[in-house]
């Protein structure tokens, strides 16, 4: 056990070192931007997986909660954070001050998105199946249109992350961003495979039976929804601070659909599946750039083909782990 912990810590430190010091020097900004977007997509996909894949509640308004997180964190940074950052930077070296400040807007964005999730979740989670889907979609759009009409966060002009004192609040540190991604995925995975996660899955398999054996189904659903919204908010805040400019168009139902595609294509109920799908599908449109105007057509065809060939998603409800990989290799060797 101790050796495994040590190995995990070592691997994490190694990955962090690569992301923090090697990649920013080795890759041009275009690839770094794609890597950052992949990180955002992973957090969004894994958080939706908790509701759609593990709890079986069909929510397709995830982009709305991302919007809450993005705008809340951006407003905090622009109106208050830039002063705090300046105060911190006057006593500490600038990179350290920025790294210390960075978690604050993420937590604030996540917290507000979580509250939004609670407010949306309590009334709508009584609905079932497709009715729940359309209600969450509706809330997502309502959130977006309301933000569009708030002038303090730019309205239709969009919102640039430039502090009141003119400070650039963009934060593109790849190591820090992926540390947040790793923590988010780890927390969600721990929750999904804890005893609370067992209740989530019980609700997914059969809500009536779960209620009959004493699972407080409404509470379980609301809990999953709030945690999921919190991390959607973190993803939104991450997006806002890495892009440096946000617009409500980035959080329309098209974005919600995209996240749902990650979850279903990866395999409902598989954290690693969601991570893989989010990574591949965020990179794919960029990789297909060589095809020019046929790019998105190919992307769409790819999506249809993969879904027809693997209707249960890439991973099904299984997880990819070192142990599973070893077992699979052993099985192949035995067969050969």
């Amino acid at each position: 056990m101790r050796a495994r912990t040590l190995a995990a810590v070592g691997a994490s430190a190694f990955a962090f070192a690569i992301l923090e010091w090697v990649l920013p020097r080795a890759l041009n900004p275009y690839y770094l931007t794609i890597l950052t977007r992949i990180g955002v997509a992973i957090v969004a996909a894994v958080s939706l997986q908790l509701v759609n894949g593990f709890t079986g509640q069909f929510s397709i308004g995830h982009a709305g909660f991302m919007a809450v997180g993005a705008y809340a964190s951006a407003a905090l940074s622009v109106y208050l954070g830039s002063e705090w950052l300046a105060a911190l930077a006057s006593v500490l070296p600038v990179p350290l001050a920025r790294a210390l400040y960075f978690p604050l807007p993420l937590l604030a964005g996540g917290a507000l998105a979580g509250v939004a999730g609670l407010l949306v979740g309590i009334p709508t989670l009584r609905l079932r199946g497709d009715y729940l889907a359309i209600a969450t979609l509706g809330f997502g759009e309502i959130i977006r249109i309301v933000i569009l009409n708030v002038d303090a966060v730019g309205g239709a002009r969009g919102f640039a992350l430039t502090g009141q004192n003119g400070a650039d609040l963009r934060y593109e540190d790849l190591g820090a961003i992926y540390a947040v991604v790793a923590i988010s995925v780890a927390v969600i995975a721990r929750l999904a495979y804890s005893s609370a996660g067992l209740a989530f899955r019980a609700v997914r398999e059969d809500e009536t039976a779960a209620a009959a054996i004493g699972v407080a189904t409404t509470r379980v659903k609301v809990l999953a929804f709030v945690v999921s919204s919190f991390f959607a908010g973190v993803a939104g805040a991450l997006f806002a601070h890495s892009e440096g400019y946000i617009h409500t168009n980035s959080f329309s139902f098209v974005r919600s659909f995209e996240i749902m595609v990650f979850v279903v294509l990866g395999g409902l109920g598989s954290i690693t599946g969601a991570v893989i799908a989010a990574t591949v599908l965020t990179a794919a449109p960029e990789g297909l750039r060589g095809f020019g105007e046929f790019r998105m057509i190919l992307y769409a065809l790819l999506l249809i083909a993969v879904m027809i060939l693997r209707p249960q998603g890439l991973m099904g409800s299984r997880e990819l782990s070192l142990g599973a990989l070893r077992g699979w290799l052993r099985g192949r060797r035995a067969a050969a």
Partner: protein, 300 residues
């Protein structure tokens, strides 16, 4: 008061287009329990076909009732073929797959048609030819009804009546209702389920094609992404009425059109797109299965 009446008239004309699109959603949902997210794009293809057909038939230069009918038929036929193809290629292979799988192929088809549309038709907006010379049909006091609104409403009502006739009075319609109730039992009774499902797509898509023409008449700017938001709102209308219910889709569409027009007229047009969802959520909280939907009994 007259202003209110005027808004109501506008809303009903606009809502009848939503209703036509909503019918396609609700019919497909009825037989497959599938939200056909590509339906909005079928409606876009309908409008585009209408644009080219009207120019090919020469109706664009010389508006006539016959020309309008020919354009309508051409567009409905093109969409019917498209709908049947989508069903065959993207949904039929997934008939026994997990429920969310066809939903993703639906999104895939929607993306495909949007992007293929931009490639084939060009991404710039086109101006739909005035198939009906615009003039005032009636004027009562300050209330004005244009002949375009009359044409839209009459066509929509005619098509809905036709659909009602097909679904309620023909053998095919009976088969459709049987499949909607229980596909397995229908198959045992000798109903060719696959063919009936395909026919459902044909009918629903033809209605979407007609809606594409009607929207071109009343709102002439058309482009390859035009199906996105109206498609979503028509789906909202279908859920509003109780998805799977044909009268529900008609009522939901009209209701949505009226509410949107009233909000745009009296409150603020920026909130117009949000109001559809506010109404939807308000209704779902009181009637969780929509206005005409029936609650499914829970089996233990």
């Amino acid at each position: 008061m007259e202003n209110l009446l005027q808004q109501l008239v506008n809303g009903i004309a606009w809502g009848s287009i939503y209703a036509l699109v909503a019918l396609g959603y609700t019919m497909v949902y009825g037989v497959l329990r599938l939200i056909n997210f590509a339906h909005g794009e079928v409606y876009m293809v309908g409008a585009m076909t209408g644009f080219y057909a009207a120019h090919a038939f020469g109706v664009a230069d010389q508006p006539s009732a016959l020309g309008l009918a020919a354009t309508l038929v051409a567009s409905m036929a093109a969409c019917a073929v498209l709908g049947a193809t989508i069903e065959r290629v993207a949904y039929r292979p997934l008939r026994h797959a997990p429920r969310l799988a066809p939903l993703i192929t639906a999104i895939g088809v929607s993306l495909l048609l949007q992007n293929a549309g931009q490639l084939v038709f060009g991404a710039d907006p086109k101006f739909f030819p005035p198939l009906v010379a615009s003039r005032e049909a009636w004027r009562v006091g300050s209330l004005a009804v244009s002949n375009i609104q009359v044409t839209v409403l009459a066509t929509a009502l005619l098509l809905m009546a036709g659909l009602e006739l097909v679904v309620m009075r023909t053998r095919v319609g009976r088969a459709m209702r049987a499949v909607a109730q229980d596909a397995d039992a229908a198959a045992l009774m000798g109903v060719p389920v696959d063919r009936i499902i395909q026919l459902t797509f044909v009918l629903g898509s033809a209605l979407a094609g007609a809606a594409g023409i009607l929207v071109g008449l009343s709102n002439p700017k058309i482009d390859p992404l035009m199906g996105l938001l109206p498609g979503l709102k028509a789906f909202v209308a279908a859920v509003l009425g109780g998805i799977g219910s044909i009268p529900g889709a008609m009522l939901g569409g009209l209701l949505l059109g009226i509410v949107e027009t009233l909000v745009a007229g009296y409150l603020s047009s920026t909130y117009r797109d949000a109001i559809a969802f506010v109404v939807l959520i308000a209704i779902l909280l009181y009637r969780p299965t929509g206005l005409f939907g029936s609650a499914q009994p829970e089996k233990v």
